[in-house]
Amino acid sequence: MTETTVNETASAGASGEKTVAERPTNVLIVGVGGQGVIMVSKVLATLAQAAGNQVKQSEVHGMAKRGGAVFSHVRFGRKVFSPTIPRGEADVLLALEWAEGLRWLPYLNRARGVFIADTQRIVPPFACRNRADGAPLGYSRETPKDILAKVRTGYALNATGIAESLGNRRAANTVLLGVLSTALDFAEKDWLKVIESFVPPKTVEVNRAAFLKGREWAERHADVGLDEDVDFSLPSPPAVEPKRPQVFIERAWCKSCDICVKMCPERCLELDEKNIARMKAPERCTGCRLCEYLCPDFAIRVLRLPAGDSQQEVRP
């Protein structure tokens, strides 16, 4: 992997001199609502504008801020038309969260583009919905090694970890800006000036350190692009024998209080015509035992039988 500036035409002038490219440079910044995607893109837009570029920065607000996927297109050059980057035309894809980087990978131009991603994972509630025995986490399985093999230039680093080691987790975005700075043709001092104008005064020092750390990391890892210290294994279930849960209800003890029906996480229970609890959807039961725990009359027992057990009715 070689260190490159993404827009060769842009690298004409000496550092500090204003350079404006013919073809727009396309930087796509992605992450999760609340991470600061808009802030990062504003830093880049301000920097590019100060260097004499026309800049367009496009994002969508609204529902996305509620923990959903957030993206911001930043395009700059002599003349920019479309506010959005056409698919396959991003020169840099900067991901503040790992799976978001994967989502937008088709937007990266893989012949010339640079992929930069924080390896931190923000696991959405949807990834934890499968209640089957031994269900895996519904999070992307691709590791940084898999992805860096698919792009020409790529960096996967634990930016959040680096920021934490500097004492401020929120500075992770600035670490990533430090990495980004090695892929674009703006002077270090200009980056720092713009970053300092955006961050709260109390955090100027830590953000400055974070930027330099990111920049130094990218220079040091120009050949690998991979933070070898990142443990990217996903938790896997312990070897358990598959079990088939079965719920037994002692009809004579049930007093129709309805607690089990209301509290079953999978909503498998109902009251029958005599107002006695019964299983409505036994196939949905995960054997969590919540009904057993909550029944005030000890009328419910949950057994976990071996999966192959053909016995239909077992008396506990």
């Binding site: 504003k42 301000t46 504008q49 026309q54 800049v55 367009k56 920065q57 496009s58 994002e59 969508v60 607000h61 609204g62 529902m63 996305a64 801020k65 509620r66 923990g67 959903g68 920019v80 038309f81 479309s82 506010p83 959005t84 980057i85 056409p86 698919r87 396959g88 799976a99 978001e100 994967l102 989502r103 990978l105 088709p106 696991v123 959405p124 509630p125 949807f126 934890c128 919905r129 025995d133 031994g134 269900a135 519904g138 999070y139 992307s140 987790r169 938790p235 279930p237 312990p238 358990v240 598959p242 079990k243 509290m263 996480p265 995960t286 969590c288 035992r289 919540l290 725990y293 909550l294």
Partner: protein
């Protein structure tokens, strides 16, 4: 919202070229045009327009949130009658609410200039439909200006006021989500003070009774003709000559996509989409071999060309639904045989994207309310707001969602239809209730139906990023004002059963809702708990899950709280649960659900 932290224009000394979001540019244009009165109801993607106007000095301009879009437009109309330039902004569906006023005001015209900015949402990023405002412009016979970028938005808003006064008409400036939320450089100017004109005493013009309205309707046709002549000129229609074999008529943001993918074509760029300059269209059509129209949503320009008998290709290649993009416009021209197909990607990536829909915030008080409604086995008529997210897994507790304020009247209709298998509950947010929920509540009491209404009072208009409304007791500039009392409103319209509960208290909420659905008649439960992020971020000691005692029942995860995910520990083949201390605000609702008291406040913070 980040955009609010950059002050768009309150300072007098600022650089002449500034990067402005489309909505900031619209606000800047309105302020410079000398607007004296501005009013709006928040709605994505239009919200930031009024928020930015409120950053200009109060002595320059009166800026206020209205209770709904019709009220906002009526206020602007009143200001126009009184002789000042007046402005109002709304999202596309807001114009449905304000349409009644617009359809009459177009007959009346203006005294002070009257401009309405309507932001459409092609692609439905944050709306319930993607209706095209340009059809309203045609229906109301008002001019519709359609900027392509922030610079043009800024300029056209200023021009719109001149057109409004010159042609005696309200003017619509149509934005879209992409324009409203794209930041690009804008060369700005200075505010021009426009003195208040005297009130025009002219009942034949200002009082729309049948005899007057018949007179005015004829003048609308005349006005439309004059506007066509205006829009035939620069800057409203501009030809950029290129290859004569391909001509493209385009407008709005799609102009930038055409220039991006087909820079060599001849382009007729329109800045007004109604009324269309027929002669200009004909002249351009005759100069090119093949004529295309690239427009977002409805084929307004294309249909007009067909009406004129001009051969044109448009929606046959470019979709009528959704937002356009450079790729979609490129694909359209490829399908039409104008462009070569782009080279295929070297290898397929074969990565399945992670499902990450928007979710309610950690600690959101709506979660417990819908969790309890689930246990009531209620048929729930929902409404417009963040809480619509409770329609999806895991809460899955909303059965219908139509438009602002629909929930209560939908519930009345269900009851009147004889639906009695389950309790009927309408859920409506505080801001939505004030917007359009009070008339149907009056109706419910008046017609004595058996429904329960839950007012989800989080003391803010949360969905659009946290705006004040009459129930918060504050105005847009942070000024203190009267705070609406929901219990008093309900009692005043005749509701006999009203109770306010804290949705963080699960047992109290459960008890209140159970009594409410058992009550015969209209019952109202007010779930009173402020939004966790607006106006201030609320945090308490984070909760932690004891990994030793957690039985992995995951009952807490039915709340859909984003702070709750699986831990690396297992119990009987299931994941135990952990709580992200950075997200948890300590509402303790999950702790009230946990059957093993495994969820407790973290020791470090107590």
């Amino acid at each position: 919202m980040d955009s609010l932290k950059t002050n768009a224009g309150a300072q007098k000394t600022e650089p002449a070229i500034r990067p402005l979001m489309g909505n900031e540019a619209i606000a800047r244009g309105a302020w410079e045009a000398g607007v004296k009165v501005a009013s709006a109801y928040p709605g994505t993607p239009s919200t930031e327009i009024l928020e930015n106007l409120a950053r200009y000095p109060a002595e320059d301009i009166s800026v206020e949130w209205a209770v709904n879009e019709k009220v906002a437009l009526d206020i602007a109309i009143g200001a126009s009658f009184a002789g000042v330039r007046a402005f109002c902004s709304m999202k596309h569906v807001g114009l449905n609410v304000a349409a009644d006023a617009l359809m009459s005001q177009t007959y009346i015209g203006v005294n002070g200039g009257l401009v309405i900015t309507v932001c459409d949402d092609p692609g439905i990023h944050s709306s319930q439909n993607e209706q095209d405002t340009r059809i309203y412009a045609r229906l109301a016979m008002v001019p519709c200006l359609e900027p392509a970028d922030a610079q043009e938005a800024y300029e056209l808003v200023k021009t719109a006021f001149d057109i409004s006064e010159e042609y005696d008409t309200p003017v619509i400036v149509r934005s879209t989500t992409r324009l409203s939320h794209t930041r690009s450089p804008v060369r700005i100017g200075e505010r021009e003070e426009v003195p208040r004109k005297p009130f025009e005493e002219n009942p034949a013009k200002n009082v729309m009774i049948p005899a007057h309205a018949r007179q005015r309707h004829a003048r609308l046709l005349e006005r439309e003709q004059r506007l066509k002549e205006l829009f035939a000129q620069e800057p409203f229609s501009r030809i950029e000559w290129g290859r004569k074999d391909i001509g493209v008529i385009t407008l709005g943001v799609p102009y930038s996509y055409v220039k991006e993918v087909l820079p060599e074509a001849s382009v007729l760029k329109l800045s007004a989409s109604w009324p269309l300059p027929e002669d200009r269209l004909r002249e351009f059509a005759e100069s090119v071999e093949r004529l295309f129209v690239v427009e977002e949503l409805e084929p307004i320009v294309e249909d007009e060309l067909r009406r004129l008998g001009i051969a044109v290709e448009g929606k046959v290649w470019f979709p009528r639904t959704g937002e356009l993009s450079p790729e979609i416009v490129r694909d359209g021209f490829v399908a039409a045989g104008v462009l070569e197909p782009p080279p295929a990607a070297e290898e397929e990536l074969d990565i399945e994207p992670l499902v990450r829909p928007p979710v309610l915030c950690a600690g959101c008080p709506h979660m417990s309310t819908y969790n309890v409604l689930r246990t009531m086995n209620a048929r729930v008529a929902g409404d417009i707001g963040c809480y619509t997210l409770a329609a999806i897994e895991p809460l899955k507790a909303i059965d219908t969602c139509v438009s602002m304020g629909s929930s209560i009247a939908n519930a009345i209709g269900m009851a009147r239809a004889g639906y009695n298998e389950r309790p009927i509950v309408a859920t409506i947010g505080d801001s939505t209730f004030l917007h359009a929920g009070i008339p149907p509540l009056i109706d419910a009491v008046y017609n004595n139906v058996n429904i329960t209404v839950v007012i989800l009072d989080n003391s803010i208009t949360a969905m659009t990023g946290g705006q004040h409304h009459p129930g918060t007791g504050y105005g847009i500039r942070g000024n203190k004002t009267h705070k609406v009392d929901y219990e008093e409103i309900c009692r005043a319209v005749g509701v006999k059963w009203v109770r306010t509960v804290d949705p963080y208290d699960l047992s109290a909420l459960f008890k209140a809702l159970r009594e409410a659905v058992e009550y015969k008649g209209v019952s109202v439960v007010i779930a009173d708990r402020p939004c966790v992020i607006d106006p201030v971020r609320i945090t308490g000691p984070a909760m932690v899950v004891d990994q030793k005692t957690c039985i992995a029942c995951q009952a807490c995860m039915n709340l859909g709280c984003p702070a709750l995910t699986w831990s690396d520990e297992w119990y009987e083949g299931h994941h135990k649960v952990k709580i992200d201390p950075g997200l948890c605000i300590g509402c303790a609702v999950c702790a009230q659900i946990c059957p093993t008291t495994s969820i407790q406040p973290s020791q470090a913070d107590t």
